[in-house]
């Protein structure tokens, strides 16, 4: 059992409820405990830094200080990519120099050492311990899922701050999905911008950003998109309806790609049902049906694979038996040439 200090972030009980539910389910299954940091506050997101850099560092630092107070030896887990980026940026800032640390302490007026490690949920599931536990617990491999792993911008950039995965072609989510039996496709929009808050400010021009993500995922053969960020998920899952409407007017085919959190699919592989995992509250109504359909197909594929493997084993055995018989006959030939004649 590993315990992490948990920073839920503002989306945890609103737009990202499915993420929270599914992460809870999966964590419990594989023995990860998340203890919420008491009195955590807003991470500041991009808005705080636009107001003032001090505010942008002070807000997340306050929560980091509270986490230290809770248990300085545990890493903090922030499932939301935006929270993760804000917390990690504040941490790296305070660690850069004594002056910076002093400055942060002055601002938050709390004891603070900038000593707690900040992790995102992908990082947690990339630890050997979590991977081993997952492997053991998987009951329904996702063999029929061809997923486009979409990381978004905040998990891997800026490289100097995150130091977590390749900024152009990250692999951590792909590895986790492969572990769950799914086939992650090779595509090119893993870390392209989803439009983030611009989707609220200027929705029409920003929709292009989402459209090309769907476009590339579909062109490379995905049947679902998987994310690790509540804002990415919302932008993609919510806005595809408007995009499909526009496409219909332009005579283009609609996208038929449900969008999941990676924890939701892990939950499915671990035997969770759509309701427990929050899949029933997606914007795209077809998500639960898609899961049912693909789980069935996956089972079928697994069955076929088992049969094929059994057949292969039988053939091998047969061949081995034949070979052994031949050898035996030869050996007898050599030992009793007269017996052969009789």
């Amino acid at each position: 059992m590993t315990t992490y200090s948990y920073f839920p972030g503002c989306s945890a009980n609103s737009t990202g409820i499915s993420y929270t539910k599914s992460a809870d389910f999966v964590c419990k299954k594989i023995g990860i405990e998340l203890e919420e940091i008491p009195e955590w506050c807003c991470c500041g997101t991009s808005a705080a830094k636009l107001t003032s850099y001090d505010l942008g560092y002070a807000l997340p630092s306050r929560s980091l200080a509270l986490a230290e107070k809770l248990d300085a030896s545990r890493p903090i887990v922030a499932p939301c990519a935006g929270c993760y980026a804000a917390l990690k940026d504040a941490l790296v800032y305070a660690q850069a120099s004594k002056e910076n640390l002093e400055h942060v302490r002055d601002m938050i007026n709390m004891p603070y050492e900038a000593s707690v490690q900040v992790m995102n949920l992908l990082e947690v599931f990339s630890t050997q311990e979590a991977k081993d536990a997952l492997q053991q617990q998987i009951t329904k491999p996702l063999s029929a899922f061809k997923v486009a792993c979409y990381y978004g911008c905040a998990l891997v950039r800026p490289v100097e701050v995150c130091k977590f995965d390749d900024p152009e072609d990250p692999q951590s989510m792909d590895t986790i999905m492969r572990l769950a039996g799914a086939e992650p496709i090779d595509w090119s929009f893993k870390t392209e911008c989803c439009g983030a808050a611009q989707q609220m400010a200027v929705p029409k021009p920003s929709r292009v950003l989402i459209e090309r993500i769907f476009q590339n995922a579909e062109a490379n053969g995905a049947n679902a998109i998987v994310t690790a960020c509540p804002l990415c998920w919302m932008n993609l899952d919510m806005r595809v309806k408007a995009i499909n409407k526009e496409r219909a007017e332009a005579g283009k085919p609609a996208f038929d790609l449900p969008v999941f959190f990676f924890t939701e699919l892990l939950g499915v592989a671990l035997g969770g049902d759509a309701k427990t995992l929050g899949i029933d509250v997606h914007f795209q109504p077809g998500a639960p049906a898609f899961i049912d359909q693909k789980v069935k197909e996956s089972a079928q594929i697994e069955e076929e694979r088992k049969l094929a493997a059994a057949e292969e084993a039988r053939k091998l055995e047969e061949r081995a038996a034949k070979l052994a018989a031949k050898k035996q006959a030869k050996a007898e030939d050599v030992h009793s040439p007269q017996g052969g004649e009789q």
């Binding site: 152009e168 072609d169 595509w187 090119s188 929009f189 476009q215 590339n216 062109a219 490379n220």
Partner: protein
């Protein structure tokens, strides 16, 4: 008593602008043993030099301080001047009043005070110098050219035509370098092979030229006029005296190896000729991939060879020969863009190719016989994107410098594509278009008229959608986001120095700049010499350039070599180390530090306190010593002295600065 003359130069306003030259001369007149001090507007000019000579005669001067520019600039000029007078050319000290004084100061008072200090030091030093005489070293009248590309071939031919023996060492199995890989050359669109291969065959058959292909320089010893060079010729496994070059062996080899000459776009056998017109026109066996040599199986080539020229037990041949001069023409390679540009796919898309790959694609003897076809599926691309400055002019990703030829060959590629695929479209992303050269801008304008669309901006991402490569970029002139669906992308990548040039440079004492290009002795006035006497350079080894500039430089290097080899003897530099044997402890510290292997320990007999004793002392080979002075600072006993820079004279200099 010495009689010192001090000559201070205005250098127009170069020195006089920040140094009160007359005041410096006035102070100089008060210094001990100075019998005369004067100033001149331009001391290096003819009337200036005549003035110095006249003063030497008039005041019976026996040693001279020149308060002028850097000794790197004019020390030799002053030496030559003194050679015409009764003053020994080494009784000279140059006070650097320009590069190290007037040019670096703005305040005239500060500049003048520093100039006075420099003159005081020079006067103190020159007072302690003694006359030196140079000796004569013989010149071996043969030249070595390292690298058999167009620069090396041109230099070799020019030297050989002047009547001297030349050896060309080429690392690859054939002469030709990069030029022979190119299809056509801008701006005239000459077929590159048609003008390069005749040179190759001329080099191969020239009575004064020996070609050592598949060979590398292993070590160099000696000095100008007498370099002892050890060359390793790799085993070719074929007796070139027996081989007729019929090529039967290459048809029977079952092994397939990636063909580097075709830039990885086709395969070749393990016994191969680099290309059809290779010189020498005979194959070699690539031992690493040969089944006979690796596994002792096959042997098909030996069976078919009609002359029995194939020997699987062939070995590397190492020879050491003496040369009077060396020309380095080691050329370049293209930067490995793959790890630098993950956003361009980092090499996972076969249809994102380099300029050199395009050259092979468009070449009639290339893997597609001159049809422009995509490497991935062999289809003819209709939309081609060309990206310039990939790795160049970008210190964050690649190198900071401009690779110079890419603007022109980028335009050439656009022109060739539009010529061969008339219904195609070509987009060129550029940072600047740089076309300085005869007929170059006209060529670029023609490419625009051909229909190439030039977009000023960078491509931020290339990704695959279906079987097309989508290029996202920006047109910075219209601030428009650009999205182009391309069938093929050509990256015009940066030139970087050829592999191994660093080692070769160290061997010869030739410096490399921060980008590892070989450094010329003077950027403007000694462009083909290096800081090591007798070693010259030409072509891209010195920095990116196009073929015309390379050929010019090769000719210039050749003329320098011819000038050197024309001498029967060279004057040696007498400013070398001398051992004070009375002080020498024979501990060999100097032997270890000498970069030229000029010092050895010897047993010598001495008479001390009326007894004969034998001691170990250091001995300097005057031919090898370059006068670097490393030994003088290493010697704990102070037994090493650099003539012209003796310990005593340097201490006097320091005293002059500190005590007066």
């Amino acid at each position: 008593m010495s009689r010192i003359g001090v000559f201070i130069c205005y250098c127009g306003s170069n020195i006089a602008g920040t140094v009160d030259v007359e005041k410096v001369a006035e102070v100089a007149r008060t210094l001990p043993n100075v019998v005369h001090a004067e100033t001149n507007k331009y001391t290096c000019s003819d009337p200036g030099q005549a003035g110095v000579k006249a003063a030497i005669e008039k005041y019976n001067i026996d040693r001279v301080v020149m308060g002028t520019c850097s000794p790197r600039m004019h020390e030799l000029t002053w030496r030559k001047l003194l050679a015409d007078t009764p003053v020994n050319p080494y009784m000279l000290e140059v006070a650097n009043l320009r590069e190290q004084c007037s040019w670096v100061h703005k305040d005239k008072e500060v500049g003048t005070a520093k100039a006075i200090d420099l003159i005081k030091m020079a006067v103190a030093k020159v007072d302690k110098l003694s006359p030196l005489k140079s000796t004569q070293i013989p010149v071996t009248k043969r030249a070595l050219v390292v690298g058999g590309g167009i620069a090396g071939m041109q230099a070799a031919l020019d030297i050989a035509d002047a009547g001297y023996q030349v050896t060309v060492v080429e690392r690859e199995t054939s002469l030709g370098g990069k030029m022979v890989m190119l299809d056509k050359t801008f701006p005239t669109m000459d077929c590159s092979a048609c003008i390069c291969t005749p040179k190759m065959s001329e080099v191969g058959s020239h009575p004064n030229i020996t070609v050592k292909s598949y060979a590398e320089v292993e070590s160099v010893e000696g000095y100008v006029g007498n370099f002892d060079v050890t060359i390793r010729e790799k085993a070719k496994y074929i007796d070139y005296n027996l081989c007729t070059g019929c090529g039967a062996c290459t048809t029977k080899c079952p092994t397939k190896v990636i063909n580097n000459f075709e830039q990885g776009m086709s395969a070749r056998p393990a016994i191969y000729k680099m290309f059809a017109q290779a010189v020498p026109a005979k194959p070699v066996i690539d031992a690493e991939h040969c089944r006979k040599i690796q596994e002792n199986k096959c042997g098909a080539c030996a069976k078919i060879c009609p002359t029995g020229a194939i020997h699987y037990d062939d070995e590397d041949k190492v020879t050491t020969e003496r040369y009077g001069a060396i020309v380095l023409t080691t050329g370049y390679q293209l930067i490995d863009w793959k790890p630098l540009y993950p956003e361009y796919g980092g090499g996972k898309y076969p249809d994102v190719i380099t300029g050199l790959q395009f050259e092979r694609l468009v070449n009639a003897s290339g893997p597609t016989e001159g049809h422009i076809l995509r490497p991935s599926d062999g289809k003819e691309p209709k939309n081609v994107v060309i990206i310039k400055c990939v790795g160049s002019r970008d210190p964050h990703k690649g190198v900071a410098y401009c690779s110079r030829a890419c603007c022109m060959y980028g335009a050439k590629h656009a022109h060739q594509f539009l010529d061969k695929v008339p219904d195609g479209r070509c987009f060129v992303f550029y940072m600047d278009v740089r076309t300085p050269g005869k007929g170059y801008d006209e060529f670029y304008m023609n490419t625009l008229q051909d229909g190439a669309q030039y977009l000023r901006g960078r491509v931020s991402k290339i990704y695959k959608e279906g079987d097309r490569l989508v290029c996202l970029g920006e047109d910075t002139l219209t601030s428009a986001q650009i999205r182009i669906e391309a069938d093929m992308v050509v990256l015009e990548t940066a030139m970087v120095p050829a592999e191994g040039v660093d080692k070769l440079g160290s061997m010869l004492g030739v410096t490399r700049d921060k980008d590892l290009w070989l450094t010329e002795a003077h950027a403007k006035l000694r462009p083909v010499e290096t800081n090591t006497a007798g070693v010259f350079l030409a072509g891209v080894a010195q920095g990116p350039k196009d073929i015309p500039d390379t050929v010019c430089q090769a000719g210039a290097a050749a003329s320098k070599v011819i000038g050197l080899l024309n001498h029967d003897h060279l004057e040696s530099n007498p400013q070398i180390s001398r051992v004070n044997e009375a002080l020498c402890q024979g501990d060999g510290a100097c032997v270890n530090i000498c970069p030229y292997h000029a010092i050895t320990l010897v047993q010598k007999q001495f008479r001390e306190n009326s007894q004969k004793i034998t001691r170990t002392v250091a001995s300097v080979n005057p031919g090898l010593c370059q006068g670097c002075g490393a030994c003088t600072v290493t010697c704990r006993a102070g037994a090493m002295d650099l003539l012209g820079y003796t310990n005593e004279s340097l201490m006097r200099e320091v005293d002059a600065l500190c005590q007066w």
